[in-house]
Symmetry: C2
Subunit: 586 residues, 2 copies
């Protein structure tokens, strides 16, 4: 049910309706939008600070421009909630029953006012320049506006975009939303210079945008509606590219989001009154075990450098950073740099440990292959989030095994429990042969046995059975246990259960031995199967009598599909797997 039938926002069914409101009413709409952002995010989680900071810009855009003839491209698009509310999708914010009707990102399938599904950073300048060029080729007109900020400017793609946008000889408006933050605090040199621009009201000569050949304008109060309207009216229909640098407050209008900017960039469900988290996780965590181990090694004098690209929260790195500031580097949003920088550190004798989200690590595929693996220095990496989730299609991290396992000269280890994770980390930091990537499990912390040395990959055979062998990789080892048990119960088959340790290297001896008394090998991986672990096993047995069944995600980009539904679709429940096995061995 609509929680706010009294809101002026109810009168806005399309951007046209924005133009008919008075400035006073629009200011009220701004307050309403902020309330709805907070209410929805408090209930189901979402991006808080980015949306609160951009409210006036969004209202001003729709007041001044004529969408969709004039087009706005949102960088990352995690700040597009206000835009959605003003473009026919307000119900998804007013009515909790409809909260899940829209995604957290822009989406051309939802509205003619959206053009892209995006969730990674730094894309908007390139996308908008492409749209502007296409407009010119077709001899059309209309403004193209890119909105970028929130740390995205440090990403190489955004900077490549500035260099190329400057070539355009027609309309393009780049709104640089400078909220003085990326997801975390921003560190790099450009941010120091942006601060100088803010302090000098845009007059400092150290100006990245002018140095890229772009026209430039500074707006000190980007959260003032009348200012934003008058600025956008002035740049509307401009005949060349311009950067409009606006100074805004991340979290504007909600005190907890202003005070705890990092925490409220994206937040799990929280209590509106004080911003406290509704369900605080307790107990052991793999993150903490990893960081405790790194701390011990630093205390022992090991030259460890923990590197991340603006996502310390994902790995609980904030307390680590406070305790070991000299052993911590947040490189801003710059995934490519993180890998190449780590290679340089390792080449000169330091021990870098790079923390990455699987979906963002895609930015650094070439750096993994050409910079890191080719050179063979012992960079260590932790990769998280490469699992089948109900994430939006913009943040599917499930391609990590296919991506990483195609690269020679590195090892991608998949621990199944805490002891194995820490043992692998210790070994990775001791050996000097090659880069080692470790796939952090996302299950609750499990305990078990572990090997000390992973120079050779020797599968751990937990149960030596016959007929069927189950290879349960990493987080799906537990699923293997369940399947093994159920096969015994339902079919009286004593299946062999194996922990294959690595997503990249096959234990040829063990696989060959299975040929003697097994007729089926079952692979389980919590990732996309294309190019992944199971296909390597298929390849191994392709020319033998052994049959293989692979389980994992199909090749598709799912969008906020509940995990249960995906498991059902992919046959990842023990009953389904046993059923599929039954059909083969009968």
């Amino acid at each position: 049910m609509n929680q706010h039938p009294d809101y002026i926002l109810n009168q806005i069914n399309s951007p046209k309706d924005v133009k008919n409101l008075t400035i006073d009413d629009l200011k009220k709409v701004a307050t309403e939008i902020r309330q709805l952002v907070v209410e929805k995010d408090a209930a189901i989680g979402g991006h808080v600070g980015p949306n609160l900071g951009i409210v006036e810009t969004t209202i001003a855009f729709h007041y001044v421009f004529d969408s969709p003839k004039d087009k706005v491209v949102w960088d990352i698009s995690h700040q597009s909630y206000p835009h959605k509310m003003l473009t026919g999708r307000k119900e998804a914010f007013l009515d909790p029953d409809h909260y899940r009707n829209v995604t957290g990102y822009s989406n051309q399938d939802e509205s003619e006012h959206d053009y892209f599904k995006v969730g990674h950073t730094s894309t908007s300048i390139a996308l908008a320049t492409g749209m502007a060029k296409a407009r010119d080729m077709k001899n059309e007109n209309g403004n193209i506006v890119a909105v970028i900020g929130d740390g995205s400017m440090s990403g190489g793609l955004a900077l490549e975009g500035l260099n190329n946008a400057a070539k355009l000889k027609s309309n393009l408006i780049i709104i640089f939303n400078d909220n003085q933050m990326s997801i975390d605090d921003v560190n790099g040199g450009m941010y120091k210079m942006f601060a100088e621009l803010r302090e000098t009201n845009g007059q400092s000569s150290n100006n990245l945008f002018k140095a890229m050949g772009l026209d430039y304008r500074y707006v000190d109060n980007g959260n003032d509606l009348e200012t934003m309207i008058s600025v956008l009216e002035e740049v509307k229909d401009i005949d060349h590219p311009i950067v409009v640098h606006i100074n805004t407050l991340k979290g504007e209008g909600y005190q907890p989001a202003i005070e705890r900017k990092r925490e409220f960039h994206w937040h799990v469900p929280f209590n509106v009154e004080d911003g406290s988290t509704k369900n605080v996780a307790t107990g052991e965590s793999y993150n903490k075990l990893i960081l405790d181990e790194l701390g011990r090694q630093i205390d022992d004098g090991k030259p460890i450098m923990a590197i991340n690209a603006a996502i310390p929260g994902v790995f609980d790195l904030v307390p680590f950073k406070e305790k070991y500031p000299d052993n911590y580097d947040d490189v801003d949003i710059a995934e490519q740099y993180s890998i190449t920088y780590a290679t340089g550190l390792a080449a000169n004798g330091a021990r870098p440990v790079v923390f990455h989200n699987s979906t963002f690590l895609q930015r650094a595929y070439d750096q993994l292959e050409h910079d890191m693996a080719l050179n063979g220095y012992p960079v260590v990496m932790l990769v998280k989030g490469g699992h089948i989730t109900e994430n939006s299609n913009t943040h599917q991290g499930i391609f990590d095994i296919g991506m990483i396992s195609s690269i020679p000269n590195l090892e991608y280890l998949a621990p199944t429990n805490a002891e194995e994770l820490i043992s692998m980390l210790r070994w990775a930091l001791t050996q000097t042969d090659k880069p080692v990537v470790i796939r952090e499990p996302v299950t609750e912390v499990r305990h078990g046995e572990a090997d000390d040395d992973y120079t050779e990959i020797n599968y751990r055979v937990a149960n030596q059975g016959e007929k069927v062998a189950i290879l349960g990789l990493g987080a799906f080892y537990k699923l293997g246990e369940d399947v093994q048990r159920k096969l015994k119960e339902d079919l009286n088959v004593d299946a062999t259960l194996i922990n294959p340790i690595s997503a990249t290297t096959l234990d040829v001896e063990t696989l060959n031995n299975l040929k003697k008394d097994h007729e089926l090998v079952v692979t389980l991986e919590d990732a996309s199967m294309v190019g992944g672990f199971g296909e390597k096993v298929d390849h191994f047995y392709a020319n033998s009598e052994m049959k293989v069944l692979n389980f994992g995600a199909q090749k598709e980009l799912t969008d906020m599909v509940p995990v249960e539904e995906l498991y059902d679709r992919y046959h990842l429940n023990p009953e389904q797997i046993v059923d599929d096995i039954k059909r083969v061995i009968d």
Copy 2:
């Protein structure tokens, strides 16, 4: 035999010997180095202009600094020939019998004065910053110098590097070798601003380096040895990062390389006297067929935009650019941008065609997945160089199938002849369903039949036989023909021969039909097999009686290994393949 026993260079066995020479002698050494660069490249091909331009910087570095305590990191490292000559590897330039003793790139396996194998651009700032940070962590000293230029500065990784280098509170010297060129002419806004800096002797306020928070110094004559020595002496042991912007002439000392800078960036064997190419290719080329087709479509009014990232020569795009300047965009070295920009163009109704080298396309994996494929706009791409070659390990393009085929929602087509290539291109530019990537064959032009429509992938069955079926993908279809013939001759097996059309999508019906009267499927792909085409076929048959043999490159990074040797190693000769087949079907 040493061609120049009289050269002063013969006295230089390590950088120490550089310091003992007089400036006059060093100037003679500069001339000798240039002569040797030209002689070697004329004989076996190589990078010409980049090496000729950097001679004085290299000599000055070794005169002023103490390598390897002081370390120099070469960006791309295609300009490291002079460095190799001064660091114990002169024989590989003086003596044609030893030309192939060293690679064309820096290589830590060759010398203690090299630290990285690199051949892709824009890495040096990140690598050097990592080395500097490691030095500080270990409380060591010594200078770290990165040399970057030749178009590398437009790459996102280099710009991410500037932002992060500015955080360092210790010694780092970034020499920006501004030769006013990337591989091709440079286009973007930053290059206009670099020109301003050159014109104002470094005084212009539009300064990218200062805007990134870095100290800065301009040197107008980077090809003057005494100037370079005195500048490097001044910045030696500096206690913070600094950019030394030097103005040099690409090709200095060799007139053909100065006059034809693009052509002489990298050159096949040529005649020294006039720079003319020794063996000019004649006859049909796939490049020309592609560009002729695009030209026809542009003439018909289609809004085509041909995009490349500073490699027009690879696709013979220069004449196209001259004829269709409004339909051509060289985005500088910025592979990520090229894909995202193309997505923006396609989203707004233009028809982008993006040309890429397989090895450099690795830079844009995330853009292929998250920007291009997820959004589904009909970007068209041509990919070249994804083949088994004797390239150095820095430029192995063989991972393209594994990389691209893991991405949902795009089609990777592999034509086997000219008619198929053009038919696929036409279809790709007509359909609006999804991005289409086409793998340009590297064989000499072949002719044959083609389908008109690739909406569904229907394998072309060239010969319907029995027992053995051969799937010859793209450029390896010819190998399939050879194997088919030899199977008939040697074993009297009438094998089925199939052109599988696509590297990503299986024709399930045809593959299922093979189960009736075939016992073995053979896959042939001119690429790395890991995550590739053959493994998809393995996966398809994993749970059936069908046996599969895959042929392609093993998972490794080979370094200048002759193709014949690789074919032998990978069993890619018809005799070997027939032999392997025999072992299975007997």
